[in-house]
Amino acid sequence: MSKVTPFPGQAESGGGADQAPGGMQYEVSRRPGVTDEDEVLEVAVGPHHPSTHGVFRMDVKLDGERIVSLKPVLGYLHRNHEKLGEQTSYLGMMPYTDRLDYFCSLTNNWAYAIAVEKLAGLQVPERAEYIRIITGELTRLFNHACLVGFLLHDMGTMGTPLMYAFREREKVLDLFESLTGARMMCNYQRFGGCRNDLPDGWLDEVSKLVAEFPRWLDEMEQLLTGNEILIARTEGVGVLSPELAVSAGVTGPSLRASGVNYDLRKVDRYGIYDRFQFRVPLGEKGDVFDRYMVRVLEMRESVGILQQAIRDLPGGPVIDPRARQRNFMPPVGEAYGRIEAPKGELGFYLISDGSRRPSRFRVRAPSFVNLTILEDLCLGHTLADAVAILGAVDIVLGEVDR
């Protein structure tokens, strides 16, 4: 290896053999008096960087190409969500929950509705439970599809898989629009059921989409799963040990990719998930590739759940007629409602003092908790890997900052 001497004639000091994390030996030559710490480069990635998925900043310290420190900087999208919840009526908070994770408004509604139903002891009609599962699993389908698209987009595929994913997402959003009236801000679940019944022909459209989805998924897998570049970029990158994942409170596909079998649909069996047959895919190594693969497999399981739900959907009312939406005043008490949202455990913690507004409204946002381990995942990797790691964590800043 030839030594580069940028300042010929000067005595070389402070340089020497360095150990790179990859095990490669390289030699560094420096000006006199320059210490290791002076060589560290600070880079602010974001808040307007395209690969940060919104307004999110990573203060990265780089030693050459390698990350020695990474500090996530949050709060650019802070909207005082929890305080708003304490000043708005229970019903009035429902549309705000759409705006947490704006990709998955229906699962947000669902988690909030579960928390309030627990608080007030409301029963949900069977048909509404099925509709909730259908909408929730559709949300999971397109969330994971888009996540794969965004991940690949971050790694430099210039949008091709993302556009394919968005094409599928459009079909689901069209279905949501004809059911709830809005494509993204659905505001559909109500305490004790759903707002309105399915429109005519909606279920046929869903079964058509569900029947066609595996074909799209096969195509996507053909494009990506065996792809040499994808494997080179993701395998062994950002390994998350099961111990760290559990102690940091990571949930969702990131946790399962590390091999921890924890899915609230199986653990809590909230709603009527105990009636459905599905498996929980688990990863082995906990790297970015496993996180990608777990999501692909979860989409396949979701298709199975959707088929069973469409087959078994019963008739009947979609909302408990005794459930009051306006002037809703639950008894004094507290409740924590949680569901397995596409990004992890989404929980709403409510304390009621018997009035029209909760006296405490707390959101346990999966993206936020999953983001806390970002530095541990990125240390020793290159900046380009950090982008892939961040992409696989699956964050939506509306939920992180609240």
Partner: protein, 177 residues
């Protein structure tokens, strides 16, 4: 590569692979449940006299971002009349959540589907007044046919006793409040 080529070639003949349309030359039909911003329904010909709104202010109270402002009309003796003098709705604040529609006991506020609302004024033009919000029942029937049938039946139900005395809507207001 095979997949990309299949999608590229397929986009020329397979509508499944080319889902975009050339807006604004071509337009998609909106689903019936689709919603954009609220509007006020009036019966008959006159948008002022036929207004269903009774200025009960329930929607003003329930609106989560508080974008509705209502002042009730007063008669010569200063008593509130069941008619809004001012009904303003700031669509730069409105988040189209439809809660005003759900809580309205008189079926008077409904969701519009118009979405092409670009304008040059950022402030004044975003504040819609009663005259801009008022839409005829026939228009409501044209955009939300099945919902409109149900609401017409309810409105008839409210109106009938109202012909004899003013008690029924007042009772409905009390019940709703």
């Amino acid at each position: 590569m095979v997949v990309t080529a299949r999608n590229f070639v397929g986009s020329y003949y397979d509508p499944d692979r080319l889902p975009t349309i050339e807006y604004p030359e071509k337009r998609q039909k909106l689903p019936e449940n689709s919603r954009s911003f609220p509007m006020l329904i009036f019966d008959g010909e006159d948008p002022e006299a036929g207004l269903r709104c009774v200025a009960c202010k329930i929607c003003e109270k329930e609106c989560p971002p508080q974008c509705i402002y209502i002042v009730a009309e007063r008669d010569s003796r200063g008593r509130a009349v069941r008619h809004p003098k001012i009904f303003d709705l700031d669509i730069s604040v409105c988040m189209a959540c439809q809660i005003c529609v759900e809580v309205c006991p008189f079926d008077s506020i409904k969701m519009d589907t118009a979405f092409e609302m670009a304008g040059r004024d950022r402030f004044g033009a975003m504040l819609l007044h009663k005259s801009e919000l008022a839409k005829s029942d026939a228009y409501f029937h044209s955009i939300h046919p099945s919902e409109a049938v149900g609401s017409d039946a309810r409105v008839e139900h409210i109106k009938k006793p109202a012909g004899r005395s003013q008690a029924a809507p007042a009772e409905a207001t009390r019940k709703a409040a």
